[in-house]
Protein backbone atom coordinates (compact mmCIF):
# COMPACT_ATOMS: atom_id res chain seq x y z
CA UNK A 1 0.00 0.00 0.00
CA UNK A 2 1.41 3.40 -0.90
CA UNK A 3 1.77 6.17 1.63
CA UNK A 4 -1.18 8.09 0.13
CA UNK A 5 -3.42 5.06 0.30
CA UNK A 6 -2.31 4.42 3.88
CA UNK A 7 -3.12 8.01 4.75
CA UNK A 8 -6.59 7.74 3.23
CA UNK A 9 -7.29 4.46 5.00
CA UNK A 10 -6.26 5.78 8.37
CA UNK A 11 -8.25 9.00 7.91
CA UNK A 12 -11.34 7.00 7.05
CA UNK A 13 -11.20 5.43 10.52
CA UNK A 14 -11.65 8.85 12.13
CA UNK A 15 -14.65 10.34 10.35
CA UNK A 16 -15.73 12.41 13.31
CA UNK A 17 -14.44 15.95 12.77
CA UNK A 18 -15.00 16.79 16.44
CA UNK A 19 -12.12 14.65 17.70
CA UNK A 20 -8.54 15.61 16.81
CA UNK A 21 -7.47 14.05 13.54
CA UNK A 22 -4.23 12.12 13.12
CA UNK A 23 -1.56 14.34 11.60
CA UNK A 24 0.50 13.04 8.69
CA UNK A 25 3.95 14.06 7.68
CA UNK A 26 6.64 12.79 5.34
CA UNK A 27 8.97 15.68 5.83
CA UNK A 28 12.47 14.80 6.96
CA UNK A 29 11.76 11.10 7.07
CA UNK A 30 11.78 8.24 4.62
CA UNK A 31 8.58 6.77 6.05
CA UNK A 32 5.05 8.06 6.52
CA UNK A 33 4.67 9.54 10.01
CA UNK A 34 1.40 9.67 11.91
CA UNK A 35 1.02 11.79 15.01
CA UNK A 36 -1.86 10.83 17.23
CA UNK A 37 -3.36 12.00 20.49
CA UNK A 38 -2.53 9.83 23.46
CA UNK A 39 -6.14 8.82 24.11
CA UNK A 40 -6.57 7.58 20.52
CA UNK A 41 -3.33 5.65 20.45
CA UNK A 42 -4.55 2.20 21.36
CA UNK A 43 -7.59 2.44 19.12
CA UNK A 44 -5.43 3.39 16.15
CA UNK A 45 -2.88 0.70 16.88
CA UNK A 46 -5.55 -1.93 17.17
CA UNK A 47 -6.98 -0.94 13.80
CA UNK A 48 -3.55 -0.80 12.22
CA UNK A 49 -2.79 -4.28 13.38
CA UNK A 50 -6.09 -5.99 12.80
CA UNK A 51 -7.30 -4.33 9.61
CA UNK A 52 -6.44 -6.71 6.76
CA UNK A 53 -5.56 -3.82 4.47
CA UNK A 54 -2.93 -2.37 6.75
CA UNK A 55 -1.98 -5.52 8.70
CA UNK A 56 0.90 -4.02 10.64
CA UNK A 57 1.88 -7.15 12.54
CA UNK A 58 5.54 -6.38 13.15
CA UNK A 59 6.53 -3.69 15.62
CA UNK A 60 10.22 -3.45 14.90
CA UNK A 61 11.20 -0.42 16.93
CA UNK A 62 9.76 1.32 19.95
CA UNK A 63 11.57 4.48 20.95
CA UNK A 64 11.10 6.89 23.81
CA UNK A 65 11.97 10.48 22.99
CA UNK A 66 12.35 13.55 25.16
CA UNK A 67 11.43 16.49 22.91
CA UNK A 68 12.39 19.07 25.49
CA UNK A 69 8.95 20.12 26.64
CA UNK A 70 7.13 16.97 25.70
CA UNK A 71 7.82 13.31 26.17
CA UNK A 72 6.90 10.99 23.37
CA UNK A 73 7.03 7.46 22.06
CA UNK A 74 7.73 6.51 18.45
CA UNK A 75 6.48 3.21 17.09
CA UNK A 76 7.92 1.80 13.89
CA UNK A 77 5.51 -0.64 12.31
CA UNK A 78 5.91 -2.95 9.37
CA UNK A 79 3.54 -5.35 7.71
CA UNK A 80 5.08 -8.72 6.98
CA UNK A 81 2.35 -9.28 4.41
CA UNK A 82 2.25 -5.98 2.48
CA UNK A 83 5.76 -4.84 3.39
CA UNK A 84 4.80 -1.23 4.03
CA UNK A 85 6.16 0.76 6.93
CA UNK A 86 4.46 3.34 9.11
CA UNK A 87 5.77 5.44 11.97
CA UNK A 88 3.32 6.32 14.72
CA UNK A 89 4.23 9.14 17.10
CA UNK A 90 2.55 10.10 20.29
CA UNK A 91 3.39 12.90 22.70
CA UNK A 92 2.38 14.28 26.02
CA UNK A 93 3.38 17.51 27.72
CA UNK A 94 2.87 16.05 31.19
CA UNK A 95 6.42 15.48 32.36
CA UNK A 96 5.48 14.57 35.92
CA UNK A 97 3.21 11.68 35.18
CA UNK A 98 3.28 10.78 31.50
CA UNK A 99 0.98 7.88 30.69
CA UNK A 100 0.25 6.13 27.43
CA UNK A 101 -1.73 3.04 26.85
CA UNK A 102 0.36 -0.08 26.49
CA UNK A 103 0.37 -1.89 23.17
CA UNK A 104 1.87 -5.07 24.55
CA UNK A 105 -1.49 -6.81 24.14
CA UNK A 106 -1.15 -6.24 20.38
CA UNK A 107 2.55 -6.93 19.98
CA UNK A 108 4.23 -9.07 22.59
CA UNK A 109 7.57 -7.50 21.77
CA UNK A 110 6.31 -4.20 23.21
CA UNK A 111 6.46 -5.73 26.67
CA UNK A 112 10.23 -5.40 27.05
CA UNK A 113 10.56 -2.28 24.96
CA UNK A 114 7.96 -0.43 26.98
CA UNK A 115 9.79 -1.43 30.12
CA UNK A 116 12.94 0.03 28.60
CA UNK A 117 11.15 3.30 27.82
CA UNK A 118 9.76 3.38 31.35
CA UNK A 119 13.23 2.74 32.68
CA UNK A 120 14.90 5.60 30.81
CA UNK A 121 12.13 8.15 30.36
CA UNK A 122 9.72 7.45 33.18
CA UNK A 123 6.87 7.11 30.73
CA UNK A 124 4.23 4.85 32.21
CA UNK A 125 2.18 2.45 30.19
CA UNK A 126 -1.27 1.62 31.47
CA UNK A 127 -2.41 -2.02 31.28
CA UNK A 128 1.17 -3.21 31.22
CA UNK A 129 1.39 -6.45 33.25
CA UNK A 130 4.92 -6.03 34.57
CA UNK A 131 5.98 -2.41 34.35
CA UNK A 132 9.25 -2.19 36.21
CA UNK A 133 12.76 -1.12 35.37
CA UNK A 134 14.42 -3.32 32.77
CA UNK A 135 18.08 -2.34 32.91
CA UNK A 136 18.63 -0.10 35.89
CA UNK A 137 18.25 -1.18 39.47
CA UNK A 138 14.91 -0.67 41.17
CA UNK A 139 16.23 2.10 43.43
CA UNK A 140 17.72 4.24 40.66
CA UNK A 141 16.68 7.84 40.95
CA UNK A 142 15.59 9.75 37.89
CA UNK A 143 15.30 8.78 34.27
CA UNK A 144 18.69 9.00 32.55
CA UNK A 145 17.70 9.50 28.94
CA UNK A 146 15.62 12.58 29.70
CA UNK A 147 17.30 15.76 28.60
CA UNK A 148 17.06 17.33 32.05
CA UNK A 149 18.70 14.39 33.81
CA UNK A 150 21.72 15.43 35.83
CA UNK A 151 24.29 13.07 37.25
CA UNK A 152 27.48 14.88 37.98
CA UNK A 153 29.55 11.86 38.90
CA UNK A 154 28.70 9.61 35.96
CA UNK A 155 28.05 12.00 33.09
CA UNK A 156 30.55 13.90 31.02
CA UNK A 157 28.73 16.73 29.30
CA UNK A 158 30.54 18.25 26.37
Amino acid sequence: MTNEALQQTILSWFPDAEVPQPQFSEEGSQYLNVSIEANQLHELMQLLKNNPETHFDYLFCLTGVDYGKELGVVYHLESTMHRHILVVKVQTSDRENPIFESVQDLWATANYHEREVFDFFGIKFSNHPNLKRLFLSEDWEGYPLRKDYVDESNMVVK
Binding site: E27, G28, S29, Q30, Y31, N33, D57, Y58, L59, F60, C61, T63, V65, D66, V74, H76, T80, R83, V87, W107, A108, T109, N111, Y112, H113, E116, F120, R133, L134, F135, L136, S137, P144, L145, M155, V156, V157, K158
Partner: protein, 378 residues
Protein backbone atom coordinates in the same frame (compact mmCIF):
# COMPACT_ATOMS: atom_id res chain seq x y z
CA UNK B 1 14.88 -9.06 43.52
CA UNK B 2 11.56 -9.66 45.18
CA UNK B 3 11.02 -12.96 46.84
CA UNK B 4 7.68 -14.31 45.85
CA UNK B 5 6.07 -16.97 47.97
CA UNK B 6 4.99 -19.96 46.01
CA UNK B 7 2.19 -22.30 46.82
CA UNK B 8 3.27 -25.93 46.95
CA UNK B 9 1.55 -27.78 44.17
CA UNK B 10 0.09 -31.22 44.74
CA UNK B 11 1.10 -33.72 42.10
CA UNK B 12 -1.06 -36.56 40.87
CA UNK B 13 0.31 -39.03 43.36
CA UNK B 14 -0.40 -36.75 46.24
CA UNK B 15 3.17 -35.81 47.06
CA UNK B 16 3.82 -32.19 47.71
CA UNK B 17 6.04 -30.73 45.08
CA UNK B 18 7.51 -27.35 45.68
CA UNK B 19 8.77 -24.95 43.08
CA UNK B 20 11.98 -23.17 43.80
CA UNK B 21 14.01 -20.32 42.42
CA UNK B 22 17.39 -20.72 40.93
CA UNK B 23 19.67 -17.97 39.84
CA UNK B 24 21.28 -18.67 36.51
CA UNK B 25 23.93 -16.05 36.07
CA UNK B 26 25.10 -13.32 35.92
CA UNK B 27 28.17 -15.51 35.98
CA UNK B 28 27.20 -18.79 34.48
CA UNK B 29 28.84 -20.66 31.62
CA UNK B 30 25.68 -20.89 29.54
CA UNK B 31 24.53 -17.30 29.74
CA UNK B 32 27.25 -16.09 27.38
CA UNK B 33 28.25 -13.03 29.29
CA UNK B 34 26.51 -11.31 32.10
CA UNK B 35 22.90 -12.23 31.62
CA UNK B 36 21.01 -13.23 34.71
CA UNK B 37 18.05 -15.54 34.45
CA UNK B 38 15.72 -16.08 37.36
CA UNK B 39 14.37 -19.54 36.90
CA UNK B 40 11.38 -20.97 38.67
CA UNK B 41 11.83 -24.70 38.61
CA UNK B 42 9.88 -27.74 39.68
CA UNK B 43 12.47 -30.48 39.91
CA UNK B 44 14.12 -30.17 36.55
CA UNK B 45 11.15 -28.68 34.74
CA UNK B 46 11.21 -24.97 34.05
CA UNK B 47 8.10 -23.07 35.09
CA UNK B 48 9.20 -19.53 34.42
CA UNK B 49 12.20 -17.71 33.03
CA UNK B 50 12.71 -14.08 33.91
CA UNK B 51 15.75 -12.31 32.51
CA UNK B 52 17.31 -9.65 34.70
CA UNK B 53 19.22 -7.31 32.45
CA UNK B 54 21.49 -4.33 32.74
CA UNK B 55 24.67 -5.79 34.19
CA UNK B 56 26.75 -4.21 31.44
CA UNK B 57 24.51 -1.35 30.47
CA UNK B 58 26.76 1.51 29.34
CA UNK B 59 24.07 3.93 28.22
CA UNK B 60 25.47 4.11 24.71
CA UNK B 61 22.33 5.86 23.48
CA UNK B 62 22.89 8.69 25.94
CA UNK B 63 26.57 8.88 25.05
CA UNK B 64 25.62 9.27 21.39
CA UNK B 65 23.73 12.45 22.18
CA UNK B 66 26.92 14.24 23.12
CA UNK B 67 29.13 12.83 20.38
CA UNK B 68 29.52 13.68 16.72
CA UNK B 69 28.29 11.35 14.01
CA UNK B 70 31.78 10.07 13.26
CA UNK B 71 32.24 9.18 16.90
CA UNK B 72 28.94 7.32 17.17
CA UNK B 73 30.19 4.75 14.68
CA UNK B 74 32.81 3.63 17.15
CA UNK B 75 30.30 3.14 19.90
CA UNK B 76 28.29 0.67 17.82
CA UNK B 77 31.17 -1.80 17.83
CA UNK B 78 30.44 -2.31 21.47
CA UNK B 79 26.86 -3.38 20.94
CA UNK B 80 26.86 -6.71 19.19
CA UNK B 81 30.60 -7.15 19.11
CA UNK B 82 30.34 -10.20 16.89
CA UNK B 83 28.65 -8.15 14.17
CA UNK B 84 30.61 -4.99 14.75
CA UNK B 85 31.26 -4.32 11.09
CA UNK B 86 27.56 -4.54 10.22
CA UNK B 87 26.65 -2.27 13.12
CA UNK B 88 29.15 0.32 11.89
CA UNK B 89 27.69 0.01 8.44
CA UNK B 90 24.19 0.69 9.74
CA UNK B 91 25.15 4.01 11.29
CA UNK B 92 27.16 5.04 8.24
CA UNK B 93 24.29 4.17 5.91
CA UNK B 94 21.88 6.10 8.09
CA UNK B 95 24.08 9.20 8.06
CA UNK B 96 24.79 8.88 4.35
CA UNK B 97 21.08 8.57 3.57
CA UNK B 98 20.33 11.63 5.63
CA UNK B 99 23.04 13.61 3.86
CA UNK B 100 21.92 12.13 0.51
CA UNK B 101 25.50 11.11 -0.03
CA UNK B 102 26.20 8.55 -2.74
CA UNK B 103 29.19 6.39 -1.83
CA UNK B 104 31.34 4.80 -4.56
CA UNK B 105 30.46 1.33 -5.82
CA UNK B 106 33.79 0.09 -4.53
CA UNK B 107 32.80 0.99 -0.99
CA UNK B 108 29.45 -0.75 -1.30
CA UNK B 109 31.01 -3.98 -2.54
CA UNK B 110 33.74 -4.00 0.12
CA UNK B 111 31.20 -3.31 2.84
CA UNK B 112 29.06 -6.20 1.69
CA UNK B 113 31.99 -8.61 1.53
CA UNK B 114 33.14 -7.62 4.99
CA UNK B 115 29.58 -7.84 6.28
CA UNK B 116 29.20 -11.39 5.05
CA UNK B 117 32.61 -12.35 6.44
CA UNK B 118 31.45 -10.95 9.75
CA UNK B 119 28.33 -13.06 9.53
CA UNK B 120 30.36 -16.21 8.91
CA UNK B 121 32.71 -15.34 11.76
CA UNK B 122 29.79 -14.82 14.08
CA UNK B 123 28.09 -18.04 13.03
CA UNK B 124 31.26 -20.10 13.44
CA UNK B 125 31.64 -18.78 16.96
CA UNK B 126 27.98 -19.50 17.63
CA UNK B 127 28.42 -23.02 16.31
CA UNK B 128 31.37 -23.68 18.54
CA UNK B 129 29.65 -22.31 21.59
CA UNK B 130 26.46 -24.20 20.86
CA UNK B 131 28.42 -27.42 20.87
CA UNK B 132 29.92 -26.47 24.19
CA UNK B 133 26.51 -25.68 25.62
CA UNK B 134 25.15 -29.10 24.74
CA UNK B 135 28.29 -30.70 26.14
CA UNK B 136 30.52 -31.32 23.11
CA UNK B 137 33.53 -29.17 23.85
CA UNK B 138 35.42 -30.15 20.73
CA UNK B 139 33.23 -28.14 18.37
CA UNK B 140 34.36 -24.98 20.14
CA UNK B 141 37.88 -25.35 18.81
CA UNK B 142 36.77 -26.27 15.32
CA UNK B 143 34.63 -23.16 15.16
CA UNK B 144 37.44 -20.97 16.41
CA UNK B 145 39.91 -22.47 13.96
CA UNK B 146 37.91 -21.19 11.00
CA UNK B 147 36.97 -17.92 12.64
CA UNK B 148 40.65 -17.25 13.11
CA UNK B 149 41.19 -17.07 9.36
CA UNK B 150 38.49 -14.41 9.03
CA UNK B 151 39.92 -12.51 11.96
CA UNK B 152 43.30 -12.53 10.28
CA UNK B 153 41.75 -11.04 7.15
CA UNK B 154 40.11 -8.35 9.25
CA UNK B 155 43.29 -7.66 11.10
CA UNK B 156 45.22 -7.13 7.92
CA UNK B 157 42.66 -4.83 6.35
CA UNK B 158 41.02 -3.07 9.28
CA UNK B 159 43.75 -3.30 11.86
CA UNK B 160 41.45 -4.89 14.38
CA UNK B 161 40.07 -8.34 14.90
CA UNK B 162 36.86 -7.72 16.78
CA UNK B 163 35.85 -4.08 16.90
CA UNK B 164 36.68 -3.11 13.37
CA UNK B 165 35.87 0.63 13.14
CA UNK B 166 36.46 0.38 9.42
CA UNK B 167 33.38 2.20 8.17
CA UNK B 168 33.10 5.95 8.34
CA UNK B 169 30.28 8.11 7.04
CA UNK B 170 31.19 8.52 3.39
CA UNK B 171 33.04 5.29 2.84
CA UNK B 172 35.86 3.36 4.41
CA UNK B 173 38.64 4.61 6.60
CA UNK B 174 41.40 3.16 4.41
CA UNK B 175 41.50 1.18 1.23
CA UNK B 176 41.64 -2.60 1.48
CA UNK B 177 44.96 -4.31 1.97
CA UNK B 178 46.58 -5.60 -1.26
CA UNK B 179 46.35 -9.15 0.12
CA UNK B 180 42.65 -8.89 0.89
CA UNK B 181 41.28 -10.41 -2.32
CA UNK B 182 43.83 -13.20 -2.31
CA UNK B 183 43.17 -14.17 1.29
CA UNK B 184 39.41 -14.10 0.93
CA UNK B 185 39.75 -16.30 -2.12
CA UNK B 186 41.83 -18.72 -0.07
CA UNK B 187 39.29 -18.71 2.68
CA UNK B 188 36.27 -19.61 0.54
CA UNK B 189 37.46 -23.08 -0.60
CA UNK B 190 39.00 -23.69 2.80
CA UNK B 191 35.75 -23.06 4.60
CA UNK B 192 33.72 -24.98 2.00
CA UNK B 193 35.85 -28.00 2.81
CA UNK B 194 35.49 -27.48 6.55
CA UNK B 195 31.72 -27.00 6.72
CA UNK B 196 31.00 -30.70 6.05
CA UNK B 197 33.24 -31.39 9.04
CA UNK B 198 30.81 -29.40 11.15
CA UNK B 199 28.02 -31.65 9.95
CA UNK B 200 29.98 -34.78 10.75
CA UNK B 201 30.82 -33.63 14.24
CA UNK B 202 27.48 -32.22 15.38
CA UNK B 203 24.65 -32.15 12.85
CA UNK B 204 24.51 -35.87 12.28
CA UNK B 205 25.09 -36.81 15.89
CA UNK B 206 22.09 -38.63 17.30
CA UNK B 207 22.51 -37.17 20.77
CA UNK B 208 22.72 -33.66 19.38
CA UNK B 209 19.58 -34.17 17.32
CA UNK B 210 17.73 -35.58 20.31
CA UNK B 211 18.80 -32.59 22.34
CA UNK B 212 17.62 -30.00 19.82
CA UNK B 213 14.73 -31.44 17.82
CA UNK B 214 11.38 -30.35 19.18
CA UNK B 215 13.06 -28.21 21.83
CA UNK B 216 12.06 -24.58 22.21
CA UNK B 217 9.48 -24.56 19.45
CA UNK B 218 8.53 -21.10 18.19
CA UNK B 219 5.58 -20.69 15.85
CA UNK B 220 5.59 -18.23 12.99
CA UNK B 221 2.84 -16.12 14.57
CA UNK B 222 4.75 -15.85 17.82
CA UNK B 223 7.95 -15.04 15.98
CA UNK B 224 6.29 -12.04 14.34
CA UNK B 225 4.45 -11.05 17.48
CA UNK B 226 7.58 -11.08 19.62
CA UNK B 227 9.46 -9.11 16.99
CA UNK B 228 11.93 -11.93 16.41
CA UNK B 229 14.29 -11.50 13.52
CA UNK B 230 17.26 -13.15 11.95
CA UNK B 231 17.78 -16.91 11.98
CA UNK B 232 15.49 -17.29 14.98
CA UNK B 233 12.51 -15.98 13.02
CA UNK B 234 13.51 -17.59 9.76
CA UNK B 235 13.65 -21.01 11.39
CA UNK B 236 9.96 -20.56 12.16
CA UNK B 237 9.13 -19.76 8.56
CA UNK B 238 8.95 -16.01 9.03
CA UNK B 239 10.57 -14.48 5.98
CA UNK B 240 12.27 -11.42 7.37
CA UNK B 241 15.71 -11.07 5.83
CA UNK B 242 16.46 -7.35 5.64
CA UNK B 243 18.99 -8.14 2.96
CA UNK B 244 16.09 -9.26 0.76
CA UNK B 245 13.39 -6.77 1.68
CA UNK B 246 15.43 -3.62 2.21
CA UNK B 247 18.71 -4.34 0.42
CA UNK B 248 21.56 -2.04 1.28
CA UNK B 249 25.10 -1.60 -0.04
CA UNK B 250 25.74 -4.08 -2.82
CA UNK B 251 23.23 -6.68 -1.68
CA UNK B 252 20.78 -5.79 -4.47
CA UNK B 253 23.35 -6.95 -7.02
CA UNK B 254 23.93 -10.46 -5.70
CA UNK B 255 21.87 -13.61 -5.97
CA UNK B 256 21.20 -15.47 -2.79
CA UNK B 257 18.31 -17.31 -1.25
CA UNK B 258 16.80 -16.53 2.08
CA UNK B 259 17.09 -19.62 4.25
CA UNK B 260 13.77 -20.62 5.74
CA UNK B 261 12.72 -23.54 7.86
CA UNK B 262 9.33 -24.38 9.20
CA UNK B 263 9.99 -26.51 12.27
CA UNK B 264 10.78 -23.57 14.55
CA UNK B 265 12.70 -25.72 17.03
CA UNK B 266 16.31 -25.45 18.09
CA UNK B 267 17.45 -27.82 15.39
CA UNK B 268 15.76 -25.68 12.72
CA UNK B 269 17.57 -22.62 14.03
CA UNK B 270 20.77 -24.60 13.87
CA UNK B 271 20.18 -25.65 10.28
CA UNK B 272 19.27 -22.14 9.20
CA UNK B 273 22.55 -20.78 10.50
CA UNK B 274 24.61 -23.53 8.92
CA UNK B 275 22.87 -22.92 5.59
CA UNK B 276 23.41 -19.18 5.96
CA UNK B 277 27.14 -19.75 6.13
CA UNK B 278 26.97 -21.47 2.75
CA UNK B 279 24.90 -18.59 1.37
CA UNK B 280 27.31 -16.00 2.71
CA UNK B 281 30.16 -17.80 0.97
CA UNK B 282 28.18 -17.59 -2.27
CA UNK B 283 27.61 -13.86 -1.81
CA UNK B 284 31.30 -13.26 -1.16
CA UNK B 285 32.26 -15.36 -4.15
CA UNK B 286 30.01 -13.32 -6.43
CA UNK B 287 31.54 -10.07 -5.29
CA UNK B 288 35.18 -10.77 -4.59
CA UNK B 289 36.24 -10.81 -8.25
CA UNK B 290 34.20 -7.75 -9.09
CA UNK B 291 35.42 -5.09 -6.70
CA UNK B 292 35.24 -1.98 -8.87
CA UNK B 293 38.11 0.46 -8.98
CA UNK B 294 37.67 3.87 -7.52
CA UNK B 295 37.94 5.81 -4.33
CA UNK B 296 37.39 4.21 -0.99
CA UNK B 297 35.49 7.21 0.33
CA UNK B 298 33.87 10.45 -0.63
CA UNK B 299 34.86 13.59 1.14
CA UNK B 300 32.52 14.79 3.85
CA UNK B 301 32.67 17.90 5.96
CA UNK B 302 34.85 17.57 9.01
CA UNK B 303 31.79 18.39 11.07
CA UNK B 304 28.82 16.45 9.84
CA UNK B 305 25.48 18.12 10.41
CA UNK B 306 22.44 16.11 9.52
CA UNK B 307 19.36 17.92 8.27
CA UNK B 308 16.44 18.22 10.66
CA UNK B 309 14.34 15.08 10.72
CA UNK B 310 14.08 11.38 11.59
CA UNK B 311 16.26 8.81 9.92
CA UNK B 312 16.00 5.06 10.20
CA UNK B 313 18.24 2.41 8.77
CA UNK B 314 17.83 -1.31 9.21
CA UNK B 315 20.45 -3.91 8.41
CA UNK B 316 20.72 -7.64 8.90
CA UNK B 317 23.36 -8.57 11.43
CA UNK B 318 24.26 -12.14 12.26
CA UNK B 319 21.60 -12.05 14.97
CA UNK B 320 18.80 -10.38 13.08
CA UNK B 321 17.45 -6.99 12.32
CA UNK B 322 19.56 -4.17 13.68
CA UNK B 323 18.08 -0.69 13.39
CA UNK B 324 19.51 2.76 13.87
CA UNK B 325 17.03 5.53 14.52
CA UNK B 326 18.49 9.04 14.55
CA UNK B 327 16.48 12.12 15.38
CA UNK B 328 18.35 15.18 14.25
CA UNK B 329 17.71 18.83 14.98
CA UNK B 330 20.31 20.00 12.50
CA UNK B 331 23.22 20.29 14.91
CA UNK B 332 26.48 18.38 14.92
CA UNK B 333 25.18 16.02 17.58
CA UNK B 334 22.19 13.78 17.17
CA UNK B 335 19.21 14.74 19.31
CA UNK B 336 18.32 11.16 20.05
CA UNK B 337 19.74 7.87 18.86
CA UNK B 338 17.98 4.57 19.33
CA UNK B 339 19.54 1.25 18.47
CA UNK B 340 17.03 -1.44 17.77
CA UNK B 341 18.88 -4.52 18.90
CA UNK B 342 17.87 -7.93 17.62
CA UNK B 343 18.93 -9.49 20.90
CA UNK B 344 16.37 -7.84 23.16
CA UNK B 345 13.43 -8.91 21.01
CA UNK B 346 14.82 -12.39 20.58
CA UNK B 347 15.43 -12.72 24.30
CA UNK B 348 11.92 -11.59 25.14
CA UNK B 349 10.51 -14.80 23.70
CA UNK B 350 12.72 -17.03 25.83
CA UNK B 351 10.15 -17.36 28.58
CA UNK B 352 7.53 -18.21 25.98
CA UNK B 353 9.43 -21.12 24.44
CA UNK B 354 11.49 -22.44 27.35
CA UNK B 355 8.69 -23.09 29.85
CA UNK B 356 7.90 -26.76 30.23
CA UNK B 357 11.35 -27.89 29.17
CA UNK B 358 14.19 -29.16 31.30
CA UNK B 359 17.24 -27.17 32.35
CA UNK B 360 19.17 -28.81 29.55
CA UNK B 361 16.53 -27.67 27.07
CA UNK B 362 16.79 -24.10 28.29
CA UNK B 363 20.52 -24.16 27.64
CA UNK B 364 20.04 -25.56 24.15
CA UNK B 365 17.30 -23.04 23.42
CA UNK B 366 19.35 -20.13 24.65
CA UNK B 367 22.32 -21.24 22.62
CA UNK B 368 20.27 -21.38 19.42
CA UNK B 369 18.64 -18.01 20.06
CA UNK B 370 22.23 -16.78 20.07
CA UNK B 371 22.15 -13.67 22.17
CA UNK B 372 25.03 -11.31 22.74
CA UNK B 373 24.46 -9.54 26.02
CA UNK B 374 26.09 -6.16 25.23
CA UNK B 375 23.71 -5.96 22.31
CA UNK B 376 20.77 -6.30 24.69
CA UNK B 377 22.10 -4.06 27.41
CA UNK B 378 23.51 -1.35 25.14
Amino acid sequence: METATLEPTITKKGFKSEEYFINMGPQHPATHGVLRLLLTIDGEVIKKVEPDLGYIHRSIEKMCESNSYQQIVHLTDRLDYLSSHINNEAVCLCVENALELEVPERVKVIRTILGELTRIASHTLWWGVLGMDVGALTSYFYGFRDREMINDIFEETCGARLTMNYNIPGGLMEDIHPNFVKRVKEFIPHFRSKLPEYDRLLTGNIIFQKRTKGVGVLTKEDAINFGASGPVARASGHSCDVRKYHPYSALDKVNFTEILDTAGDSFARYRVRIAEMWESLDIIEQLIDNIPDGDHKVATNAVIKLPKGDFYQKVETARGEFGVYIISTGTKNPYRVKFRSPGLSNLSLLNHIAVGGKIGDLVATMATIDIVVPDIDR
